[in-house]
Amino acid sequence: MTGARSVLPKLAWHTANLGLPVIFVLAPILSFILISVWTLDHGHVIARFTLANYAAFLTDGGYVSVYGTTVLLSLEVTILNTALASAVALFIFRRAVRIRFLLLMIFVLPLFMSYIIKVYSIRGILGQRGLFNEGLLALGLIGQPIGALLFSRTAIFLTLAILYLPYAVLPIYLALDRIPANYPAASVDLGGRTRDELLHIVAPLAMPGIVVAAVFTFVLTFGDFVTPQMVGGTEGFTFGRIVFSQFGLALNWPLGSAFAVILLGTALMAVALAGLFLRKEHIR
C-alpha cells in the first residue's frame, strides 16, 4: 500500500496546479456568465433568470451592427498585421544569427512600454497639428491638415495595427527560428531556388506561428476598448467600448456580462478555428 502518505503531497500539488487557475480564471468567467442571465431591476442586480440581455444584443440600438463592424475592423487589422509580421519575422530570420536577437528585440521593444504612452504618442503623430500632418505641410504635399487621421475608424485601424504588431512578430519569428538550419541547405542542394524554399519549407513550417499570430491579433484587437476611445472619437464605437460602457458608465452589469460572454465566445471561436486549421499540421 503506497498509502495515504504519498497521496497528500500529490493532492496538494494538484490543488496548487488546478486550484489557482480555478480561482483566478474560471471563477470570474463563471460569475459573469451567471450575471449575464440575471435581471437588472431599478439599478439593482437581482438573481432572477432571464435571456433579455442576450435578446437586447440582437434587437436593441444597433448592437449587432457595432459587433459586425468591430469583427470587420479586427479582421482587417489581423490580415494587415499577419502579413506585415510575416515579412518582419522573415527579414529577421534571414539576417546573420548573431544579430537576429538584437533585431527581434528592437521590433518587440514597444511591448515593454506603457500602453497609454504609446496611444498618446500615436495621437501626437496623427493629430491635426501632429507630426504627420506638419511633415506633409512642410513638404508642401498638402494644403491643409488631414483631419480624418485622428478620431476616425482609420485612426483606430492604424493605432491597433501599430500597437499589436509585436504580438504577431513574436510567434512567427519563433516558428521560423525552429526550422532546422540544414533544411534550407538540403533544399538548395536538391536544386531548389529561394522561391521553392519559401514555398515548400519556410511557409509550411511558419504556419503554426502565423496562425497563432492571427489569433493573438484578432482576440486582442477585438476586445480592446482603450484605443477606440482615445483615437476613435464618436465614430469609433467598437464592441469593446460597449462592454466597457455597460460596466463603467451605464452600470448595467447583466447586459455588460452578456456582451462579455459574446466577446468571449467570439474569441473562443477564433481559437477553435485556428485549432482546426493546425490539426492538419504534423507534429514531429
Binding site: P180, N182, Y183, A185, A186, S187, V188, D189, L190, G191, G192, R193, D196, H200, I201, P204, L205, E281, H282, R284
Partner: protein, 410 residues
C-alpha cells in the same frame, strides 16, 4: 583495431617500392593494374578535381593546398579526425563554402560560378535533414518537384528509387515514423532521385548503432556499385573507410596526408600519422643505413632491421619503421628479430594480443596479435619475436613532409 587479414593479397604490394606514393591520384579505372602507365597524356580526366584548394576563416587556414580527384564511379572516402577539415572539403564541393585559393573542376569545367542548386551533386547530410513536415514520398520527390518534373513522372521515379533503397512500403510515412536506418535510406533515396553524377555523404552512419552501421555499410557499398555514381564519403572511422572505399584520402590539420587504396594506406603508410590513425602499429625510430632497390636497411636502438620503403629514402635519412601487430610472430625465423620478455597477454576472442618488452630496451613495448586467441605462453617468459621486411613500412621523417609530396599534382 586492425581488421584486415590481407597477408595473401599483400604479395603484389611488396614487389613495388611504393607505387602508391608516386601515383597518388590513382585515376586508373578500377581493376586495372596499379602500375599501369600513368603518364600525363594518357591520364583519364577526373570527374571532380579539387585543385590545390586553400580555405581560411579569418586568420586561421583550415585547408592548405588540398588536392584531390574523384574518378567516375569511385567510392572515395575522406578520412580524418574531427577538426581535420574533411567536412570543409565536402562543403566546398557542395558549394556551401567559398574557396580562397585553388579551383574546383568538374568534368573539366570550373565550378566557381555554378550555384549550389545547379551543381550535379547531391548531399546526404549528417543528420539527414529530412523535411519533417513532408511524407517520405514528398521528401524523395523534392528534387524533381523543384525542377518542374511532371507529376506522374515524379510518382514513377520516386517509386523506383524507394524500391532501390528497399522502402517501397513507406512512401506515406513521415520521417518521425521511421527508424534511424530507414531515415538514412530515405536521405539516400532523396539524394539519388535526380541522378546526380556524384553524391556527397557527410558521416551519414555516425548516428547509427553498431549493428545497424555494419548493415548500412554493406547497403551503401552495394548501392554505389549498382548505381555507378561516384560517392565522396566522409568519416572519422578508419575501419569504415577501409571496408567501404575504393580509395581513401587521409587528411589532418587541413592537409592531405596520404591518398591511396585502402591497401596502400593500411600497409604502406607514408606518414607516422597515417600509420597511427589506421589501426595499430608498432613504430620504431631509426636511420637509413642502406638502400637496395625497394629494400631499406634501418639502424635502430633495437638493432638493424630491413623494411620496404613507402616513398623515396636515402642513406642517413631519419625514418620510422611501422609493423602491424598481426604481422609479428612470437617465434624466431624472420629477417627481423627481437629478443624480449612477455609482459602481458590479453585474450580478445578471435585473437589475442601480447606485449613484449625488448631485452635491449625494456621500456619499449612490442605488440603482437595472434590469431586463434590461444597463446601457449605466460607473462615473464622469454621470447624471440620476428617479422618479415615485406611487412615493415619505412616512413621517411624529417625536413620534407612526405604526406604533402604525395598529394601534389604531377
Amino acid at each position: 583495431m586492425p581488421t584486415m587479414a590481407g597477408r595473401a593479397q599483400r604479395a603484389d604490394d611488396v614487389a613495388r617500392p611504393g607505387p602508391a606514393g608516386s601515383s597518388p591520384a590513382s585515376l586508373r579505372p578500377q581493376g586495372a593494374p596499379a602500375d599501369a602507365p600513368n603518364s600525363g597524356s594518357e591520364r583519364l580526366l577526373p570527374l571532380l578535381h579539387v585543385e590545390n584548394v586553400t580555405k581560411r576563416y579569418g586568420a586561421t587556414t583550415v585547408l592548405h593546398d588540398v588536392d584531390l580527384r574523384v574518378a567516375d564511379n569511385e567510392f572515395l572516402t575522406i578520412l580524418g579526425p574531427s577538426g581535420s577539415g574533411k567536412t570543409t572539403i565536402l562543403r566546398i564541393i557542395g558549394g556551401f563554402e567559398s574557396i580562397d585559393r585553388g579551383r574546383l573542376m568538374f568534368d573539366g569545367r570550373d565550378l566557381a560560378h555554378v550555384p549550389i542548386n545547379r551543381r550535379p551533386f547531391n548531399t546526404v547530410f549528417q543528420d539527414y535533414a529530412l523535411f519533417h513536415h513532408m511524407s517520405v514520398r514528398k521528401n524523395v520527390g523534392y528534387g524533381l518537384r523543384v525542377r518542374g518534373t511532371p507529376r506522374q513522372d515524379i510518382a514513377r521515379r520516386v517509386a523506383e528509387v524507394l524500391a532501390t533503397v528497399g522502402l517501397d512500403e513507406f512512401g506515406d510515412r513521415y520521417p518521425a515514423q521511421l527508424s534511424g536506418g530507414q531515415r538514412q535510406r530515405v536521405a539516400l533515396a532523396r539524394a539519388i532521385v535526380c541522378e546526380p553524377r556524384l553524391i556527397l555523404l557527410d558521416e551519414p552512419l555516425a548516428a547509427l548503432d553498431v549493428n545497424l552501421r555494419a548493415q548500412m555499410q554493406r547497403f551503401l557499398k552495394d548501392l554505389q556499385r549498382r548505381l555507378g555514381i561516384a560517392f565522396v564519403f566522409i568519416t572519422h572511422d578508419q575501419e569504415e573507410a577501409i571496408v567501404l572505399s575504393d580509395r581513401i584520402v587521409v587528411v589532418r590539420d587541413g592537409r592531405v596526408e596520404q591518398d591511396g587504396t585502402p591497401h596502400e594506406v593500411y600497409h604502406r603508410p607514408r606518414t607516422s600519422f597515417v600509420a597511427n590513425f589506421l589501426g595499430e602499429n608498432n613504430l620504431i625510430d631509426g636511420k637509413v643505413s642502406g638502400v637496395d632497390g625497394g629494400m631499406v636497411r634501418v639502424e635502430t636502438p633495437l638493432g638493424m632491421f630491413a623494411g620496404t620503403a613507402s616513398g623515396p629514402v636515402s642513406v642517413g635519412r631519419p625514418v620510422l619503421l611501422a609493423v602491424r601487430p598481426e604481422h609479428i610472430a612470437a617465434a624466431p625465423g624472420g629477417a627481423n628479430e627481437i629478443a624480449g620478455t612477455v609482459t602481458d597477454i590479453r585474450f580478445l576472442g578471435p585473437t589475442a594480443t601480447l606485449d613484449v618488452s625488448p631485452t635491449t630496451a625494456p621500456r619499449l613495448t612490442i605488440k603482437l596479435r595472434q590469431l586463434g586467441g590461444a597463446v601457449a605462453m605466460a607473462p615473464g617468459e622469454r621470447v624471440t619475436v620476428s617479422w618479415s621486411p615485406a611487412d615493415t613500412a619505412v616512413i621517411a621523417q624529417g625536413p620534407t613532409e612526405p604526406g604533402r609530396a604525395g598529394s601534389a599534382p604531377p
